[in-house]
Subunit: 229 residues, 2 copies
DNA sequence: CGCTAATGTGACAGCTTCGTGACAATCGTG
DNA sequence: CACGATTGTCACGAAGCTGTCACATTAGCG
């Protein structure tokens, strides 16, 4: 088994250092970032297996970054452990709601940190890598987060990307607007059902004349992705 | 799709009224109760699909009722949305711990209320799994929501689809027009019986020459789906 | 072979669902 | 903070579906 990579996000260098040492002794690869901005970039570029995220940071807070990562399909599966200086319940709950998989209250022992980190990694879905899907000349690459038709790049918005990814991995099946909202938008969003129509429209337009027939309307029900007919 | 029933529990008549109007405009059936006692009785008797529960009420508080409903297996699955006048985090947390599926802070817009109610109901509704049926080269696939004859897709309207699905899962048995209206259209619709004939006609046409013999007329009674004769 | 009741069929007005462009609010970014 | 991108919502028209009718056709019966 190859060593797991952990991204530490904290603005205090001393803490990063302390954690890094502990993790390296436990045979993890370590990346560091001191703000949410670069952290996000590193998640995209280096694809760590887990993120250790400080709750309190100047600028975008840790929790914001967590939300952002969980919202994006490409990074939604990435396990996150929140570090929090306060032991207040509020933080715990907000953190877990934001999608964190665990949280650790400072001060903590390196031992404890490593133990919980292992536990989270163990729980983490082994899916990890998402495959590139190519159907009928239409190609979606989760790694580069790009869509192309016959080699030519298509301009697809974030929501349309998620929608397309969902469809391409769930072909030949009709979904109601409700189900799409659940699957693509996420369970607890309060959005009108007709909004789905609009994004279907945007996706169809982005796919161009060659491929929009793949997104089919199932009258009275919803939509379906299919190569047939 | 049958209308969902929502039980509003609040001691202030004016608030109930406001909510009731909003919900009725969105095509929900509305029940009202002004205390936890009667609310509990109505849950048992009328089996609403969702409960909108005020947090602050004289006597047994809303949260008590929520706990009680969640504790009882018969009502544990019933989604509950808490209404709370205070925006304090504490309430939110207690409410969610008591088993509420969502909470809304007053004041709220009717729009928001309906939107969140929809979202909660969406999550609560289990997706029924239905099997593909294939008879004599005619195939109906509930998953892709498609009908095909010997592999070729058929263009079937929504009502004809439901009609065919019913027939294919209830072969070799004659149904009166009245029974078909009950089973396919749904219990409480007022529709002329002859309307069934028209949809039978449309279904037969959609099935094409190869398969329309499957839909048989039972003179003086109604229709039957059968491969025989 | 006529007669009658039951069923088949085409047409159509009204209704529902879907496609689409516009727009304001929000988000992400420099 | 300002700009462009993205998002959710709406209004309106187009397209499709539904229920009903009027009339044609058929089955059953004496």
């Amino acid at each position: 088994m190859t060593a797991k990579t952990v991204l530490i996000v904290d603005d205090e260098a001393s803490i990063r250092e302390m954690i890094a040492v502990a993790l390296e002794m436990a045979d993890y690869r370590v990346l560091e970032a001191d703000n949410a901005q670069t952290a996000h970039a590193m998640v995209v570029d280096d694809q760590p297996d887990l993120v250790l995220l400080d709750w309190m940071m100047p600028g975008t807070s840790g929790i914001e970054l967590a939300r952002r990562l969980k919202r994006d399909t490409a990074t939604a599966e990435l396990p996150i452990i929140l570090l929090t200086a306060k032991s207040e319940e509020d933080n715990k709950i907000q953190g877990l709601e934001a999608g964190a998989d665990d949280y650790i209250t400072k001060p903590f022992s390196p031992r404890e940190l490593v133990a919980r980190l292992k536990a989270v990694l163990r729980r983490a879905t082994p899916t990890g890598v998402e495959d590139t899907v190519e159907i009928d000349g239409l190609r979606l690459d989760p790694v580069s987060h790009r869509v192309s038709a016959n080699g030519e790049a298509l301009d697809v918005g974030p929501t349309e990307y998620r929608l397309l990814q969902f469809f391409m991995t769930h072909q030949e099946r009709a979904y109601t607007r409700s189900q799409l909202l659940d699957q693509v938008w996420g369970g607890n969003v309060y959005v009108e059902e007709r909004t789905v129509d609009v994004h279907i429209r945007r996706l169809r337009r982005a796919l161009g004349d060659d491929h929009q027939h793949l997104i089919q309307t199932v009258r009275g029900t919803g939509y379906r992705f299919s190569t047939k007919e």
